[in-house]
Symmetry: C2
Subunit: 397 residues, 2 copies
Amino acid sequence: MTDFAATKALFDLPEGVIYLDGNSLGPLPKAATTRVSTMMTEEWGKMLITGWNKAGWMQKSTAVGNRIARLIGAETDHVIMGDTLSIKVYQAVASALEMNKGRKVVLSDNGNFPSDLYIVEGLLKSLGEEYELRVVDPEAVSENINEEIAVLMLTEVDYRTGRKHDMKALTAKAHDVGALTVWDLAHSAGALPVDLAGCKADFAVGCTYKYLNSGPGGPAFIYVAPRHAEVARPALSGWLGHEAPFAFDLDYRPGRGIERMRVGTPPVIQLTSLEASMDIWDTVDMQALREKSIALCNLFIAEVEAACPQLELASPRDGSQRGSQVSFRFHEGYAAMQALIARGVIGDFRAPDIMRFGFTPLFIDEDDVRGAAAILKDVMDNALWDCAEYKQRAAVT
Amino acid sequence: MTDFAATKALFDLPEGVIYLDGNSLGPLPKAATTRVSTMMTEEWGKMLITGWNKAGWMQKSTAVGNRIARLIGAETDHVIMGDTLSIKVYQAVASALEMNKGRKVVLSDNGNFPSDLYIVEGLLKSLGEEYELRVVDPEAVSENINEEIAVLMLTEVDYRTGRKHDMKALTAKAHDVGALTVWDLAHSAGALPVDLAGCKADFAVGCTYKYLNSGPGGPAFIYVAPRHAEVARPALSGWLGHEAPFAFDLDYRPGRGIERMRVGTPPVIQLTSLEASMDIWDTVDMQALREKSIALCNLFIAEVEAACPQLELASPRDGSQRGSQVSFRFHEGYAAMQALIARGVIGDFRAPDIMRFGFTPLFIDEDDVRGAAAILKDVMDNALWDCAEYKQRAAVT
């Protein structure tokens, strides 16, 4: 069993803050700063160019990928780090489309994170007019999976509401009609147990600066199922995905398996920060995390519904249908969130009216939940959001 | 005038090492570690998610881009940081091809860095069989610029030999026949003055971990000429390139000008490291740098040719035709470079037989050049390269 009081002590959390936004940017692991400083002075500073081999910089992308693999149920050596999530979405969807050449439709839902839709929109515009991005309601995804669909691209957990898709059932339905799947795990990796192999997912992508606490702009990851790993053509065919990058051949030959999904030079400083967080994650039992996460979310819902009748639950009530966040709708949600933040409870706002709270058991406990609910009650009871300072920026977002 | 003895004191250079590989990975600016530590503890640690606004993380990509703009002769607000160089090549070439729809040929040369060729190969495979990547000898580029060419994509300075293309003349010739240009400045930015605006370049890209000393995996940059900035469609259309990223609209609308070339979340930790180096670069006069660079390179050529008749100059003898590096051919170049590195002179090797030495005036001086040449003479006179330990890895690269 994971001792969550012990993991909480490993994060640098500012005094007087209840941080319910680890689902947007995870907090600083206490060990990360020293880890990065040491990498900079002892590796970059002293080894210079030889650090690529001597300090194992070039291997970090696969080594860290394998540590994330455990959290998302991926086979060893089938996850690799690099780039941003949007780039990894592009890689995955481009590869999947090419593996399903006869079909021209990518199916997604309007609860998907907009960047995933934008990226596919851009990709399809490049590929030609015969391609279509079909965006349906989340509830209508299943009924729209048919033999026109080349690729089903979904984010497992909705970034606004926390509503969770059934990865196993939707993947099976996609496979039944000959479609491939691309799963975005932005709000899943580190939030709940994922079983990519068990679900027979084809491609998956995710980021590390949310639940995985790598720091702002930390690298993304991509998973390619073993059965596709030697088949998928990387549309973004950079030199580090080449079979022999340092042969400097003029022609591209894809590297072995997941290695071909590398593009350019890996962000070693950001990867080093991520390693400090992975030292914590390596100790975490994902089932225990899930139980704690659901308990924290349920407690928050109960406290807020009892105290704040003005707020309407926007997340599924059933914990098994939810990620690791709870959202409430409120017509002045932006201003209310500003009022909360001013009082030390940090959540975030998503247009048009969603107040979003992430519950991350590694550093959030029951006292935090009760404390946050009490401050939210104060903001609501006394209309503390009704203040020009808090409202003025609402127009901007 | 820039005081290069003063800039040298700002880098953390290991005792007993002459570092002639700043053209591959720049050394650590002494201020970088503290700068990054402070960003991590005071910004990420204390501000958490609010750092995006409070600490100006979101603005770093354009703020740093503007500091690089001065070094490469770009107009203000037309350079933006992010991703890797390979990704930026993809963006630039994809945009340029779409602006020249009637044509299907990308012209490049076999002295280009292979990743640029691989990336375009991959892009064209996605776009369709009618597209062609035409790769000619560097000397034959000019005569192959004709009305078939959609995009001329060149690296200004050859990564192996340091041979420099005439950016102004080739861009003019490309424009004369209706082609657009994409210039890779990997071995130009911080190596010599570049005049993108004066040359009327259309697109340019580059990296920062070489001459710009951002550290391993530092972010790349992209330039789009003002006349194209509101026209170019970003093929990699991520959310941060959207006109209003935090509106979370379902449809993509490109952001204003260079902003649309953003893709995903910027790598704030790596950008912070780069800022420490840019504090040094802000003080550098690029003409003075160029004079010093040519003088150092000329001195090295003279010393080595006098001392090591076994080596054949692979770089242009005329400094104005060269970047900021000198290369020599030697049949046992790999082993000889290992022998040199073991004796504290760090250069690098590029297959099949190139020994490459970068001269970076910010931290390399005449004493370093003479010292390196003397050790190279020792390695050659005494065949110190003829040793199994140094030769064994040659087969691998």
